[in-house]
Amino acid sequence: MPVHVVAEVLANRRAGAHRVLTLAAPGVAEGFRPGMFVAVTVGPAQLARRPMWVHRVRGSGTHGATLEVVVEPRGTGSRWLGDRAPGDRLPLTGPLGRAFALPREPVACLLVGEGVAAAPLLALAERLRERSCAVTMVVAADDEAHLLATLEARRLARAVTVVTADGSVGTRGRAEHVVADLVAGPVAGSAPAVVYASGSPALLRAVARAAEAHDVSAQVAVAPAMPCGTGLCGACEVPVQDAAGQPSWARACHEGPALRADRVNWGALADRRPGGGTGAARVAGADGVDW
């Protein structure tokens, strides 16, 4: 059950181009499962909340269970969040959204994360390892500074492919160009039975296509801007279809963020008009980077 609380910032550390905030948020960590997020209130005059992936949850310390969220300071809201200092207070609601569904059997899983959207995949990898799933990861970003937690990925996964658009580290290219081969497998000995992806719409679509072509189950974390995070405003709706192909809409914050890739209507999603010229509401990552 989500709660609305005033969280306290316990730490703010740099991780490449990102800031990692450690928050004491009573009651939020308890119901967390990988893929859920928190909706954070920013600044006094900004009414849209910023959805933040929960990166890690740590067990009880002096402050009880704490959470880590990753901020990519790019828009006004995310820059403000990235500037928070220990002791600052942040009203937030969480844990929100539908988590990634986990396989019942110990099967091989491929996890693909791009930029700051890779944040929820570490906790997912941990959970999958506990279930004896063989985890392979792709961690991608524009450049080295925007790669998230590759060291930790190496600790958790059997194999990690690092991809940067500028080639500063790992394979040069974009994640959407390497996933097709990896979904086809085999990677680290076995072809994946489940693919999990979190990143740009282009990456998610590429994963959905590859998964369909190779008859692999895929879950994608869709994360447009989510002004409320609680399912009230409807601004984060994405076009979906049911098993019979009947079109409808799913709120990314409520029915998602984790959706079955074959249920997303990728064509209709691509047709959605981009946001206005001021950059006020382009589709943003789960940290609301464009906000």
Binding site: A45, R49, A225, C228, T230, G231, L232, C233, G276, A280
Partner: protein, 289 residues
């Protein structure tokens, strides 16, 4: 005249409480006055594109009456809300007088409905293909059409745009046509960054709504007025009540704090009469919520 009764002077505004279920983790819905999303006869969408943008102290949103249609509401959402104990007013919006009347007919006798709110505050009626009620005469026609279709003792509220130049005239017209009271507020006509017609809501519009409430209360002291527009703090509730509003509606604030109604003291003072002071413009001592 039908009396307006509310279990609490703090009400969930139309379209801001989802189906009610979304609020349930944060609030006790028992005794919570809640206005439904504005319903149309058939389901309506917004089409592709952004629905919502941030403005300083405000949100700009498409207001095309996106909803699942009256049948889905009556079959699915209303029974749930009634079971949860919510005090439900149903908001209606149509393209023609006939549609408003048909909606009223279907909603007015549904079990558990405590009132009807006629949405005459659509920020872009022409673009949305909805009835243009900017002329007080047209607003009154809608209220008459609705009034005829619902039980005599069911409150019918008319939601009017916070347009200072027309709001008193409109309020008088709808009251004469049989409205139990008026809701003054709703989105101020605005545009998304790309020019798409939309509505502005949130604290940015609060002073505008407050002025409208003042004007209507002064001109029509016998008409119950519910104030709406950017109310987020207990001081805002006090300001609207001091202006003469019998109750307030809260919308945008719910989007960034789903617990805000409790902070605004909903139900905290059930003894306090839901009525306006005799002289709305005399300064009132600051009261604790």
């Amino acid at each position: 005249m039908t009396a307006l009764r509310l279990p609490s002077p703090v009400v969930v505004a139309a379209g801001c409480g989802g189906s009610g279920r979304e609020l349930a983790p944060y609030l006790d819905l028992d005794g919570l006055p809640l206005v439904s999303r504005s319903l149309t006869l058939d389901a309506r969408g917004d089409g592709p594109g952004p629905r919502l943008e941030e403005a300083p102290s405000g949100l700009v949103h498409l207001a095309g009456a996106r909803n699942r249609g009256v049948a889905a509401f009556l079959a699915d959402d209303l029974p749930w809300l009634v079971r949860a104990g919510a005090w439900v007013h149903v908001s209606l919006v149509g393209a023609t007088l006939g549609e408003y009347a048909e909606l009223a007919r279907r909603v007015g006798r549904a079990p558990g409905v405590r009132g009807v709110e006629v949405n005459l505050a659509v920020p872009d009626p022409r673009g949305s293909g909805l009835f243009d009620a900017r002329e007080p005469f047209h607003a009154a026609s809608v209220v008459s059409a609705v009034r005829r279709e619902v039980p005599r003792d069911l409150p019918v509220l008319a939601k009017l745009r916070p347009d200072v130049s027309r709001v008193v005239e409109s309020a008088r017209a709808v009251a004469d046509a049989g409205a139990t009271g008026v809701v003054v507020g709703g989105p101020v006509p605005a545009a998304l960054a790309d020019g798409t017609p939309a509505g502005l809501c949130g604290p940015a519009v609060r002073p505008v709504a407050l002025r409208c409430v003042h004007e209507v209360c002064r001109a029509l002291p016998d008409v119950p007025v519910v104030g709406s527009g950017g109310i987020a703090e207990p001081a805002d509730v006090r300001a609207f009540r001091a202006a003469g509003a019998v109750a307030v509606q809260v919308g945008t604030a719910l989007l960034h704090d789903p617990t805000v109604l409790d902070r605004l003291g909903r139900g905290a003072d059930p003894q306090r009469p839901v009525r306006r002071p005799d002289h709305p413009h005399t300064p009132h001592p600051q009261e604790e919520p």
